[in-house]
Symmetry: C2
Subunit: 203 residues, 2 copies
Amino acid sequence: MNFSSNLIKDTVEAFAALPGIGRKSALRLALHLLEQPEEVTTEFAEAIQKMRTGIKTCKRCGNLSDDDICSICRDPARDDSLICVVEGVRDLMAIEDTQHFRGRYHVLGGLITPIEGVGPADLTISDLMQRAALSETKELIMALSPTIDGDTTIFYINKQLTERGIDVNVSNIARGVSFGGELEYADGVTLGRSILARTPYKS
Amino acid sequence: MNFSSNLIKDTVEAFAALPGIGRKSALRLALHLLEQPEEVTTEFAEAIQKMRTGIKTCKRCGNLSDDDICSICRDPARDDSLICVVEGVRDLMAIEDTQHFRGRYHVLGGLITPIEGVGPADLTISDLMQRAALSETKELIMALSPTIDGDTTIFYINKQLTERGIDVNVSNIARGVSFGGELEYADGVTLGRSILARTPYKS
């Protein structure tokens, strides 16, 4: 791409460095900003700067937050007895969007992945143990990816709970064929496990 | 979408206001920036701010430029005798990318569009007349969209040249079926005109 302006070139390159934005789209975004009033660009730049410098990690659950304790942990209407354990903030957001969960969260910050050198100490598992030991906590819902790393992490957390004598229910989110999906397109592992893990029919 | 952080929400909304970026992509971009070193966000914000406040319009051709005269107009290696007349900067960039043109440009800033109240005075046509009258100018290449507005604009510019007695060649970019396109998928108007405007076969 030939640029007669370095100012445009720098912006196009900054946009194109973002995931999923190619150079053609980046150019379109840069030219779009040039067509808008100057305030639009100023507000845009300020929003991302403020976010990047102001964002905190919730001291309780590990969620991204504007304050030391996030708005979900602060919400008095939510159920303290349920803690939904997730790998990262994206998963937390996806579950919040379903509006099917009104308990609290715990963000692990990853999964135990020996092959990449990520061990239990790199995650917020000891914080989770402290929260699990609180009297109000009744159940940990493990909402981790159905992968080997996810299963390893669930196994480790269970073992830690047992070793520390923490009496709390542990559940997994349901795994099986997707709702609305065509059975023939489900992958073999999922389909096989969904038969083994079949549930009684309730009419 | 539920946000537990207003800082993230503001950034997502700023990204989602850009063309072609939905809220899911905007969230991915915001979270991506949070995962990068702080300098990445700073450089990104500074690039767009500098572009927006620093960009100029080339006093000669109307191209976007870092200086009063753009780098294409300043380039001594380019051919002064050819001026390629385009509607906007996007068209100029597209032609530059072909690397098939080494003359100068003239950006009209639009097309004559009576239905939207855009008349000749809203465009840089009087500047173009001054440039066309220069002794070095031999040809104006009209690289305008093959639409009614494009044709109206070409007609008006031709008329102005004649009225002012400016002796310069005027050409249109070739119009016809696209290279590599299948004939049966070409639209009827293009196909019809491409037959009327057929060129002799040269072996």
